[in-house]
């Protein structure tokens, strides 16, 4: 966690989008630079790359990497469709972590967390995030930030001579660093939008990503500043949505790619939803699944996991909410094993044995080899 936070601070610039400034058509004629050559090892940029190479090596060895070949190829090729001739320089790594995050290092290694893949509804939304990251890469924002931080660090040393003032000075420096970063975010936003437009995606979708995150944060008790490491440095604002909408108006058309996205990720949705529920932050999960249910081909699955979150939260009325969700999720006889299990578990708690038994039987039919099949079988026998 710490390492990742630091990655955001120090090098890879995170995926948050900042409020846009005034837009003109001219801003949208973005011409990407030539392919970035590996910098001289002795330069500051070379040092930055070497350090990122090392991080990438650690990442490659991580047991937390999603190694499915097809999924990796799919997302890599989506990145390629955005990055154009830079495609060969960009390496995508999918990391299994139930939080919303993506980042890109200056050497071309990009991390996408499974929590993000769960939260985006279609290719266009994922393209918005990847496009934004590619924007940072193409503009070499990390290098600019490194130099900026270094300059300010020198200033910090001077302040440090005044003893405790160093502490205050440091806070002030951080504030200026964030302001500086916001300009980069704005630029990456704009580039991301242009790239996704050129690749044939609907720019309108990009605003929705942030809208969704806001909803989830509101579900959290209190200020909700830590749903994602992203928001530590970049509080999302309604202006961001407006600015993205403004860009979208200038770049109309394009597709969302909902079907194609869900087809590719559907084998993994179960795992990712499970990871989400396991965070034990059920109110946030309820908000998330509520959002993902809307007009989605996987609404049933999401409703089923919302029910799981209710069932595990177990507050007043949660069992009823869960039951209703499980039932709706399976109303067309959808083969959602977990929903039947959930119905059975709740009915069993309420001593409605025949309803419980019926649901458990269906669960075991659908999922005879489930890790908890032994437990459920025993419930069935005692029902």
């Amino acid at each position: 966690m710490k390492r990742r936070q630091w990655l955001h601070m120090g090098c890879a610039v995170c995926a948050s989008l900042a409020a846009g400034g005034l837009l003109a058509q001219g801003d949208l004629d973005y011409a990407p630079p030539e392919r970035l050559a590996r910098p001289d090892a002795a330069s500051d940029e070379g040092g930055l790359w070497a350090m990122m190479d090392r991080e990438e090596k650690n990442l490659r060895r991580s047991g937390l990497l999603l190694r499915d070949e097809q999924l990796n190829r799919y997302i890599q090729s989506l990145a390629c469709s955005l990055a154009g001739e830079h495609c060969g320089d960009i390496r995508v790594y999918l990391v299994r972590t139930p939080q919303f995050n993506a980042s890109m290092a200056p050497n071309g290694s990009m991390q996408i967390w499974s929590g993000l893949l769960l939260r985006v509804a279609n290719e266009a939304q994922l393209a918005a995030v990847i496009g934004h990251e590619v924007g940072h890469y193409l503009q070499r924002h990390s290098l600019a930030r490194l130099r900026d931080i270094r300059d300010k660090a020198a200033l910090g040393q001077v302040l440090g001579l005044f003893g405790i003032a160093g502490l205050v000075g440091q806070v002030a420096l951080n504030a200026t660093a964030f302001a500086y970063q916001r300009d980069h975010e704005r630029e990456a936003d704009r580039i991301g939008a242009v790239l996704m437009h050129r690749a044939g995606y609907s720019v309108e979708e990009s605003a929705k990503v942030w809208d969704g995150m806001l909803q989830e944060m509101r579900a959290r008790d209190g200020d909700g500043a830590t749903v994602s490491p992203l928001f530590a440095t970049h509080p999302p604002t309604p202006e961001r949505r407006d600015s993205l909408s403004a860009i979208a108006a200038l770049l109309p058309g394009g597709s969302a790619g909902t079907e194609s996205y869900l087809t590719r990720v559907s084998p993994f949705l179960d795992d990712w939803c499970e990871d989400e529920v396991k965070r034990h932050q059920f109110s946030e999960s309820v908000a998330l699944f509520s959002r993902l249910m809307v007009a989605s081909p996987v609404a049933g699955l999401m409703q089923c996991y919302r029910a799981e979150a209710y069932r595990l939260r177990g507050a007043d009325g949660d069992d009823e909410r869960a039951l209703s969700d499980y039932r709706l999720a399976t109303r067309d006889g959808a083969p959602l094993a977990k929903a039947y299990r959930g119905i059975g578990l709740i009915e069993r708690q309420r001593h409605r044995n025949s309803e419980a038994a019926q649901a458990f039987r269906r669960y075991l039919e659908l999922s005879p080899g489930a890790p908890d099949a032994g437990l459920i079988r025993s419930y069935l026998e005692s029902a």
């Binding site: 350090m51 090392r54 991080e55 910090g156 040393q157 440090g160 003893g163 405790i164 160093g166 502490l167």
Partner: protein
């Protein structure tokens, strides 16, 4: 609150480091597996890629990884180990870069075991594990077999470092607090080295550095650090 915590830590680690300082003679045997004394003549040893991370401590005491420092530390350690080990009478080989991925899990396992040896055996005191009978008896077992199969070495040397340094703001804060009579932390170097028998995974020899000095960011102090860590490294049997 956090100041209080650090003071506790200072006290603990000073105490835990004390026995080793006071009784160097004991420390000698403490670092070896029961029954182990010398390395076999003509034996070969594989030096694993050091696992190292460097951190800075900010004025407020926040600890942050520093990848650029780590990067140079990695290079310096590699160079120092090369010099140090080539001086031994063993056949020395270094783990090729491309094998790092394959043995990552074994390295992680070593780190976990090394931490336990340091905590429960070398620190000792009330953290000793009674079932180990005061002996350095830890083994990575057959987890190391793939290393022997791939490289055919008799032994492996694992090295692990975590090192932290105070930022200039931190130093200023430390100075100010010192005037008020309060000691706060500067930075500390922790290093582990394990000599592992690749036949059975036994940790034959182990050493730890735990000190407020040492610097891996520059070559010369890094060499000093490696030499300190491997100071008591077993010799090759006379015949």
């Amino acid at each position: 609150m956090s100041l209080l915590i650090r003071r506790y830590l200072v006290v603990f680690f000073l105490f835990s480091a004390l026995p080793a300082v006071l009784s160097p003679a004991l420390a000698q045997s403490k670092n070896r597996a029961p029954g182990f004394s010398d390395l076999a003549k003509e034996a070969s040893i594989l030096v694993m890629t050091p696992d190292v991370e460097l951190y800075s401590i900010s004025a407020g005491g926040v600890i942050e990884p520093k990848a650029d420092w780590t990067e140079s530390a990695q290079r310096h350690l590699q160079a120092s180990l090369q010099t140090r080990m080539t001086g031994s009478q063993l056949k020395v080989q270094f783990l090729p870069e491309e094998d790092g991925d394959a043995f990552a899990e074994i390295s992680a396992l070593h780190a976990a075991v090394a931490q336990s040896i340091a905590l429960h055996h070398l620190s000792g005191g009330n953290l000793k594990l009674p079932t180990k009978n005061d002996q350095m008896d830890w083994s990575l077992g057959d987890a190391v077999t793939p290393i022997r199969q791939k490289h055919g070495a008799d032994y492996a040397l694992f090295v692990w470092f975590r090192d932290s340094y105070a930022s200039s703001e931190r130093k200023a804060a430390m100075f100010a607090m010192a005037l008020l009579g309060i000691g706060i932390s500067g930075g500390i170097q922790v290093g582990y080295a394990s000599l592992v028998d690749l036949k059975n995974g036994q940790v034959l020899w182990f050493n730890r550095l735990l000190r407020g000095t040492g610097d891996l960011r520059e070559q010369a102090p890094a060499t000093e650090t490696v030499n300190a860590l491997l100071n008591d490294f077993p010799a090759v049997a006379a015949r």
